[in-house]
Each structure stands twice: as structure tokens, then as C-alpha cells.
């Protein structure tokens, strides 16, 4: 396979001008939310760094992550997979099939040991010895372990790889698990969503290619630059939420006026994603913009976090301000129990001491 070309060498060979190359770098910097001077840094990286070999494995999945990815506009998916990285294995779009495809796996693992990125779409089912997902004649979980052993880093595409998603929903008949249950010794970037936003996916790759390291992650392993805010925080219907103007059903006056969809099940207040800022289809819209509440697809336990069209406060999980009343009541109840216990203990202690002037236990509370 020899030395990998740099991105710059490759696009010059394809006849793309330096001016257009720099334009691409500025756009990439903008899509990553970086300051303009980072365009120069991106340009330098593209000119000097070899393309990163990438493995893209598919487990139990619906391929919606790939469908989203190939529609990325900034940067274009074709620039990412043909120029920025060397996508050496991806069974959805590769030309080879059968044993020729499987031979690629061995070749890349040998040639680029410890250098390649493993991108996983879908997840491994562990039930029945992993036989619920058998690409290439053996359980997916085995292939995943084998390829991850020599990877530099792992990207978990979508909610399947990150949290489990639909196949791991109760009762989880195949015992599908997120990939971090199987890969425990590598850094994993979770890019959840069902699917994740295209520009978020390509943005994560651009960041890695440019800076040679993974982006800053939150406590749950998601890149902060895209998952640092709730959908609710930048939602254009937020004003209606704050004003108490809600759609009660999908066809009432409120819905026609574009009121907040919280009461018809919107998960925006508990969902961390870039939908309300980056939006979808080159920034055209996002679910709330189309009149449907957020389903919370990028959050853990997506599918099990209650029926989609019921209000947040009835969910089993802890919500944000949505169930503040309930949380407040529960907290008050706990405090009440504490007060009663304290009063009881105080009374007991005083009874033991038998002081001449016992203090009323109720006065001690406070």
C-alpha cells in the first residue's frame, strides 16, 4: 500500500485549485465552531498529514448513520471519504465483496497497526453466543474485538453503538449492548443520534485529522462542541415555552401558531444535541421546525424513556426543570422525614439526660 498521500496532494492531483482548498479549510473551521485563524491550522494539517485509514464496521443497525453521513454538506462526504481519510473498509459502500472484502480487513490491520480509526455503526448482540449478527461468517462481536485491538481510537456512530438504541430496547431479545461494553481499553468518542447529524459526523473526523487527537468530550464521552447544549436551549420555540404557550395536540390552534411542543412529548429539555443550531439537510430544518417534538434520539435509553407523545414529567427518568414540582415534593418529603427523625432522637436524648429544664424538642428543629 505504501505511503499515504496527504489530502492536499490528492486534491491538487484531482485538479482542485489552492484557492478552493483554502475555502474548504475555512468552511471546515466554521463547521467545527472554531475561530477563523484555525482555517490556517486545518490547511497545514491537510498539506502535511497523511490520510488517516478508517475502518467502518456495521453491526446490528439500520444504516441510517451512513445515510446521514453521505449527505454532509460542510465538508462534503465525498471530500471526507475520498480525500481526508482513507476509508479502507465499509461494507455498505465498498466495491469488494465476500472474501475479497474480508481480506481488506487483514491487510489494513497489518499495514496500519495502531494507526487506524475504527468507526462502528450498530452494535454487537451478545445473546446466543453472538449469532444474531453474523457478517462474514462469524459473530460480529468477535470481529469488533479483533479490529478494535489495534485501533488508535474508536468512534461510536449513532445511538446503537453509543447506547444500544432500538435493538437494546426492552426486552432486548438479542442482548444487544453498546460497544463500550465490549471495547474497554480504547478511547471511544460517542456520536449519538438516530442518526447523528451529518455535519457532526464529518466534523468529528475533520477535528481528528486536523489536530491528531479526539475532541474534548463530556462526562458521557460525547464531543462537547456538538453535544454541549440541549436542543431546548437554542430552540426557536423556546420563547413560547417561557411564555407558557403550548400545543396541546398536534392539530389545535397552538400547533398552527407554532407554539412549544413540550406537552405533546418534546424531549428538547433533556436532550443534548446540535439539532436546533446545526439543523439537518444543509441547515434546512429539524424535527421541531417541522412541527414534531424532539424524540431524544441522542440520549441514553432512547426507546425506553416512555411513550414518545407523552409529557416529560411522566417519564421514569430524572428530567430537567420539567418535573421540578415532583422533585421539589420528593425533596420536601425527605426533609420532613429528617426533621421527624431528628426530633425523635432529640427527645430520646433528653429523656436519657433528664435535665431539670428539658428543652422542647420542636424548638431544636430548624
Amino acid at each position: 500500500m505504501g505511503r499515504q498521500e496527504t489530502f492536499y496532494e490528492l486534491i491538487r492531483r484531482q485538479g482542485i485549485s489552492r484557492r478552493n482548498f483554502l475555502k474548504f479549510c475555512s468552511l471546515s473551521a466554521a463547521s467545527l465552531g472554531l475561530a477563523p485563524h484555525f482555517a490556517g491550522k486545518i490547511a497545514h494539517a491537510m498539506e502535511t498529514k497523511p490520510r488517516v485509514p478508517v475502518f467502518w464496521l456495521h453491526g446490528l443497525e439500520c444504516t441510517c448513520c451512513t445515510e446521514s453521513f453521505i449527505r454532509s454538506a460542510h465538508p462534503l462526504a465525498k471530500d471526507v471519504i475520498l480525500s481526508m481519510v482513507s476509508l479502507d473498509y465499509d461494507d455498505t459502500i465498498m466495491a469488494a465483496a465476500g472474501h475479497q472484502a474480508e481480506k481488506c480487513v487483514e491487510d489494513i490491520m497489518r499495514e496500519y497497526k495502531g494507526q487506524y480509526i475504527l468507526a462502528v455503526e450498530g452494535n454487537p448482540p451478545l445473546g446466543n453466543d453472538g449469532t444474531f449478527c453474523i457478517p462474514g461468517g462469524r459473530p460480529f462481536v468477535e470481529k469488533l474485538k479483533e479490529v478494535s485491538a489495534d485501533a488508535a481510537a474508536v468512534i461510536a456512530w449513532g445511538s446503537c453503538a453509543s447506547w444500544g438504541c432500538v435493538q437494546a430496547a426492552k426486552p432486548n431479545p438479542t442482548t444487544a449492548v453498546p460497544i463500550h461494553k465490549v471495547i474497554t481499553d480504547k478511547p471511544i468518542v460517542k456520536v449519538p443520534g438516530c442518526p447523528p447529524i451529518a455535519e457532526v459526523m464529518t466534523g468529528v473526523i475533520t477535528y481528528y485529522v486536523t489536530f491528531g487527537k479526539l475532541p474534548e468530550l463530556d462526562r458521557q464521552g460525547r464531543p462537547l462542541m456538538f453535544y454541549g447544549q440541549r436542543v431546548h436551549d437554542k430552540c426557536y420555540r423556546r420563547g413560547h415555552f417561557d411564555a407558557g404557550q403550548f400545543s396541546e395536540t398536534f392539530d389545535d390552534e397552538g400547533a398552527r401558531k407554532g407554539y412549544c411542543l413540550y406537552k405533546v412529548g418534546c424531549r428538547g429539555p433533556t436532550t443534548y444535541n446540535a439539532c436546533s443550531t446545526t439543523r439537518w439537510n444543509e441547515g434546512v430544518s429539524f424535527p421541531i421546525g417541522s412541527g414534531h417534538g424532539c424524540l431524544g434520539c441522542s440520549e441514553p435509553d432512547f426507546w425506553d424513556n416512555g411513550p414518545f407523545y407523552e409529557r416529560l414529567e411522566t417519564f421514569p427518568q430524572f428530567g430537567a426543570e420539567a418535573n421540578a414540582d415532583k422533585v421539589g415534593l420528593a425533596a420536601a418529603a425527605i426533609v420532613g422525614v429528617g426533621i421527624a427523625a431528628h426530633a425523635g432522637l432529640t427527645a430520646l436524648r433528653q429523656a436519657k439526660v433528664r435535665t431539670n429544664a428539658p428543652v422542647d424538642s420542636s424548638e431544636r428543629v430548624g
Binding site: C62, D91, T92, M94, P135, G137, A169
Partner: protein, 61 residues
């Protein structure tokens, strides 16, 4: 030796056995195997794929 699949198809080594797994450029995982006889005629062909579904969830979800 012959193996019966859950759907009642037979997998065996008769003739020339050709297995393509994975079939690429499709959604999901697919395996096709065929048995070709001495006249290059396919005598047996079996496709295999796996899929799972969610149960016990509200239909609107």
C-alpha cells in the same frame, strides 16, 4: 453432509460451493451461497440474513 436452515433450506458441499459473505453495498448483512454442478448450473441457492425487532412498545412509538 447436509444442514437444514430454520426456514427449511439445505446447505451442503455438493458440486462447487460458492459463498459470498458479506454482500456489500447493501443495507444490513447478507450471505449468499450456491452449489454449482459440473455443467455450471446452480442447483441450490441459500440466502442468509439476521434481523431483530422491538416488542412490547406502544405502536405510535
Amino acid at each position: 453432509m447436509s444442514i437444514a436452515t430454520p426456514n427449511g433450506f439445505q446447505l451442503d458441499n455438493s458440486g462447487k460451493r460458492v459463498v459470498v459473505d458479506p454482500i456489500t453495498r447493501i443495507e444490513g448483512h447478507l450471505r449468499i451461497e450456491v452449489n454449482v454442478d459440473e455443467n455450471n448450473i446452480i442447483r441450490n441457492a441459500v440466502s442468509t440474513g439476521t434481523m431483530c425487532a422491538a416488542r412490547g412498545h406502544p405502536p405510535r412509538s
